[in-house]
Amino acid sequence: MKKIINILLVMAVGMALFGITPGFAAEKVIRIGYPGGSGRPVSAGGWGYVQAKNLFEEEFKKDGYRIEYNYIKSQGPGCNEALANNSLDFSFHGDLPVLAGRSGGLKIKALTASRGGNAHLLVPTNSSIKTIKDLKGKRVGVGVGTWTHTLLARVLNDNGMTLKDIKVINITGSDFETAIATNDIDAGFGSRALVRRGVAKIIWTTVGKPVKYQSIFSLVVREAFLKQHPDIVKRFVKMYVKGLYLASLNKNETLKFNTRTGSALQDNIDDNAGQSIKYITAPRIDGQVTQLYKEVQLVAKNNGLIRKPFDVDKDFIDSSFLEAALKELNLENHWPNYDYNGNPIKK
């Protein structure tokens, strides 16, 4: 009897210690978050080059920092959560999530932005849905809180509908693919891979549509981290711009390079048709990006996805690090600024 009590006591103390100790293990690490819906832990574009060339690792080796890439399956919203509980320092995610995060009180700053991402509205191959209007009352799968959520809202609004007119099913990644294949959902935004596999067909796409339908992804940093390590942020942005520069040199090379993520080359080519590589890789948060942010925020507000809008220019954007990096790398004139319609502004 006594033995059992003693064992229990020892166990209890052990448990308490076991539970507490992991908190003490502090190490120098820079933690980067990235929405990782595709399944493969590699990125495309500028990020891909940064990763493939170990740019961050090389840069921060001498300071003893370890670089940690986190592929966050729950996508942009998951990046927000990880930033909120201090498990990430930097993150790179889409427009609605960063805006929703900032609106929800998340202390983050946008350091750079990239534009021109595309999405396709898919329906099962045998579906009778042909246009957006046919979506009324249907089950539409969307990653709630991801950039396609506002895109969906916007497309519906264009057709005189709102999110309330359809049934939003929160679903992402491979779940989405399964659900389309089994007709569990009637439509949703996804990649061309499903079309290639004969599971789905495209009824609407952002490719070739006005710029306002395309995505903006931002490199964001936790404000606390920014205050604590401005130097690291500076060097970090510099390395990132270097990666973007490498990506911007040759469109065909870069598109081929992007297939490492598991996407087909032809899909990459089709998705980026008509867009210059400079446009895709341009990092500046210029007039086009801020205007698009404001629009997304408005759409999100009108559709109940954001409740407390904020001043994008003042409370959110910090271009100083980017400008410094461009200057240091002598790339100030490598990328032009773009107007609202995506045309380069001549200086």
Partner: protein, 261 residues
Amino acid sequence: MSIAAKITIFIREKYHGFISFLVLFLIWSGVCHYKLISPDFLPTPATVGTAFVKVVSSGILGKSLGGSLIRIAEGFMIGTTLGFLLGAVMGVSRTLERLFAPLINALRQVPIIGWIPLIIIWCGIAETSKVTFIAIGAFFPILINTFEGIRSVSHSYVEVAQVFEYSRVKLLRKIVIPGALPSIVSGIRLSMGTSWLLVVWAEINTRSAYGIGDLLSSSREEHNPGLIIVCILVIGFVAFLINELFGHLEARLNTWKKSYR
């Protein structure tokens, strides 16, 4: 009694069960054999067997169970330690009971799964959130059982201790805790059982590299009905093991109690 005789008795008493399992199995095989239900929906026994062998031999099942068990160990330990301590002080002191009881009772009303979204916001989707979730689940049963166990220790035993001039510490060590132990152990069993379900819930909601809930989710995503059944059986089997193991411990501790009553 000879072993043969024991077996005979065992079979005589339990053969009904065997028959129903056999019938169920035959129906299952028959339905699959005559393709009454598409194998996409109901895998054949052979598919399930193959899936099982594959998942065991590739080591995935082992790793998944290992991942889940580590999470349980951490969450369970934190939850039961805190629950036990709070339950014990509330059991011993009426003032502390009055202080904490309303709060505990209010928190207890939240269906445990309802904590998931909040925990994800607070702790992220990595290990911490799963461990926290399990800890919350393990916390309440042990707390309540410890509290009730202590309160059920008869006052007459406390008087005996008073007569022998026991100090407060000795009273706790010699009378209160041993008297409450059966109830505490059954609290541990409940907490452990809860931890096992909760680890599956946690892993379904926040995915990780290895975990039985992750295996379950991926079996669905990969559209692998054989693996789905394997997961169901494995999860059930572990739940059964936990129950048996702790039930056995509880029964041993309860020997004096049962025959005493």
